[in-house]
């Protein structure tokens, strides 16, 4: 499986010289299975870059977009996701509830917030699929798991026959039941992409906000015995140097373990095998 990070920043885009190495755009991750089929998780502003690539040349006219949840930072790129304006294209939105996904789309495009003045003015066909249990996209098997984030939020175990990836954002580590569910589903994954918005001292101030600190991500990765952990969903106030330190610190904590730790970076393509 191949993974491309288009947006890795949490909460709100934070562009600027101090975030340009890891990237300042809100979440969007593209997955490509071994058969070449693709899907996308979340459409923060990172989805703008992806949309531009998807509409250059003759690509697929059908996009599968899985939404972890409907917080703005995970959907705000949709009004600027190029395929959605192209007649003949089809964008299929998968989420916990088709009803709330529809109402989120209505709100994104409504005239007080958007010059598009309504979803009826989109060129592409937008379809809604409800995620009720495990499902298949081409060769890829996707298993949803409920995370701990206030509103219903899904993590995904993704298998393509060659490799296994678990995508877990937004999630507040610490609740035993929730973490156990995540660990169970992520067990043995080649890669775990995990919320790491805060350092531990910061987390103590932001407990209950629905995000994890470095140690919580490490604990879930170790408990699930995954091979690699990608820190993800950085706080908008964190500079590249902050993320460097967070990564160093995480690596030092698991120096005697098998676990490899990396920090997700906009533009990074990972081959997971």
């Amino acid at each position: 499986m191949k993974i491309r990070f288009w947006g890795v920043r949490g909460s709100i885009s934070a562009p600027g010289p101090q975030t340009m190495r890891y990237g300042g755009n809100t979440p969007c991750v593209e997955f490509e299975g071994r058969g070449g089929e693709t899907f996308v998780i979340d459409a923060g502003y990172g989805a703008v870059g992806l949309g531009q690539r998807l509409t250059q040349g003759a690509g697929a006219t059908e996009q599968h977009l899985l939404l972890t949840h409907l917080h703005w930072d995970h959907i705000q790129g949709l009004p600027f996701f190029a395929p959605i304006y192209i007649p003949g294209h089809r964008v299929i939105i998968y989420s916990v509830s088709a009803k709330t996904a529809r109402s989120a789309m209505d709100r994104l495009f409504t005239s007080v917030y958007s010059p598009i003045m309504g979803v009826e003015n989109l060129g592409a066909e937008v379809a809604y699929e409800e995620i009720a249990g495990p499902f298949q996209l081409g060769d890829m098997h996707i298993e949803p798991v409920l995370l701990d984030h206030g509103v219903p939020t899904l993590g995904f175990r993704i298998e393509d026959g060659d490799s296994v990836v678990f995508h877990a954002t937004d999630h507040e580590g610490g609740d035993r039941t929730c973490d156990e569910r995540l660990v169970q589903a992520a067990r043995g994954a080649d890669l775990l992409i995990h919320d790491a918005q805060f350092t531990r001292p910061e987390y103590l101030r932001y407990r209950g906000w629905g995000h994890s600190h470095t140690e919580a991500a490490l604990k879930n990765a170790l408990d699930a015995q995954v091979r690699r952990l990608a820190l993800f969903h950085y706080d908008p106030t964190h500079t590249d140097d902050d993320v460097d330190r967070q990564l160093q610190d995480a690596r030092a904590q698991v120096a005697d373990q098998e676990l490899e730790v990396l920090a997700a970076q906009e533009g990074l393509e990972l081959q997971v095998a």
Binding site: G16, V48, S111, P115, V151
Partner: protein, 304 residues
């Protein structure tokens, strides 16, 4: 008067390696004058960064006060408010000035950003006092020593541009506006065209913009499209840099600040846009710049 740019990008904030010189945050401008409350135009993603500079004075003691001019409520102009730190401190007081929207009033629009489905922090956790004032185009009003006048721009919904004067200094901010010759898309404009005829409406609208900009020290103006890009997109609600230049020249403005850079434009594209505008303005006294995040422009308040 000091005008500071915290966000200069239009449509949406975007971080890229090739746009860090001009900056990727969406619109937010701060206007300061000696002895006056801070005045803020727009709450795009730039207001988060601005807010982080306020967190060691009266705004963390719950004694801060500021006035906010709302141009309009498209995402790129409001998405920063939930991340504007001073709004979370009890005792601070913010007064928002905006046009009424037919669909919903400003408090509801801002509250909509905090719906549980979409944002983890409820609206009522913004502990600061928020006061909402509706303003009418072409009605001059005072905010302390500032004199403000708004005009409706040519952009979907109701979008206001503002002239802000302090002593002898004046800045005009038109963040989003389209060519009136191509399209008449502001709320109520279709009806006005019907009532007074297209040509008469266009003449009146253009004259209103010129009147409001007349003699200003600084005109901050939408320059979203390159000249070759706007063809076929005239109805997208934006201008080119040369449209902005024509207005600045017609109104005898001193300094034109190109603003609302398109998100897909890299720094060298903005450089080229600026160079083109400067060469088109050559021979006159008009100064032309392109807004950069962090830039501050001092306007002389005493012209003697």
């Amino acid at each position: 008067m000091l005008v500071t740019f915290w966000g200069v990008r239009g449509s949406y904030p975007i971080g890229r390696r090739d746009n860090v010189r001009y900056g990727g945050n969406s619109t937010c401008i701060q206007i300061q004058a000696p002895g006056e409350l801070p005045l803020i135009m727009d709450g795009g993603s730039g207001i988060r960064v601005f807010g982080s500079t306020l967190l060691d004075g009266p705004f963390v003691a719950g004694e801060g006060q500021a006035n906010i001019l709302v141009g309009h409520t498209h995402w790129d102009h409001i998405l920063g408010y939930p991340f504007f730190g001073p709004l979370y401190y009890s005792g601070n007081r913010f007064t928002f000035y905006s046009a009424g929207q037919a669909e919903a009033d400003l408090p509801l629009i801002l509250e909509g950003q905090h719906e549980e489905l979409h944002f983890p922090v409820p609206f009522d956790e913004l502990r600061a006092e928020m006061v909402f004032q509706r303003i009418r185009p072409r009605e001059r009003f005072k905010l302390g020593g500032f004199t403000i006048e708004a005009v409706q721009l040519n952009h979907p919904g109701i979008t206001l541009g503002y002239r802000i004067e302090h002593l002898e200094a004046a800045v005009v901010i038109f963040t989003d506006t389209a060519r009136i010759a191509s399209v008449q898309q502001g709320q109520g404009m279709a009806e006005a065209v019907k009532a007074e005829g297209l040509q008469q409406f266009q003449r009146r609208f253009s004259q209103e913009l010129v009147d409001l900009c007349r003699g200003a020290d600084l005109l901050v103006h939408d320059s979203h499209f390159l000249e070759e890009e706007i063809v076929g997109k005239e109805h997208w609600g934006h201008s080119t840099a040369l449209d902005a230049l024509a207005l600045a020249q017609a109104a005898s403005v001193r300094h034109l600040m190109l603003f609302h850079h398109a998100p897909e434009h890299a720094d060298d594209v903005v450089d080229a846009k600026l160079a083109l505008t400067r060469s088109a303005a050559a021979g006159g006294t008009l100064k032309v710049s392109a807004a950069r995040e962090g830039m501050a422009v001092e306007l002389s308040e005493n012209k003697k």
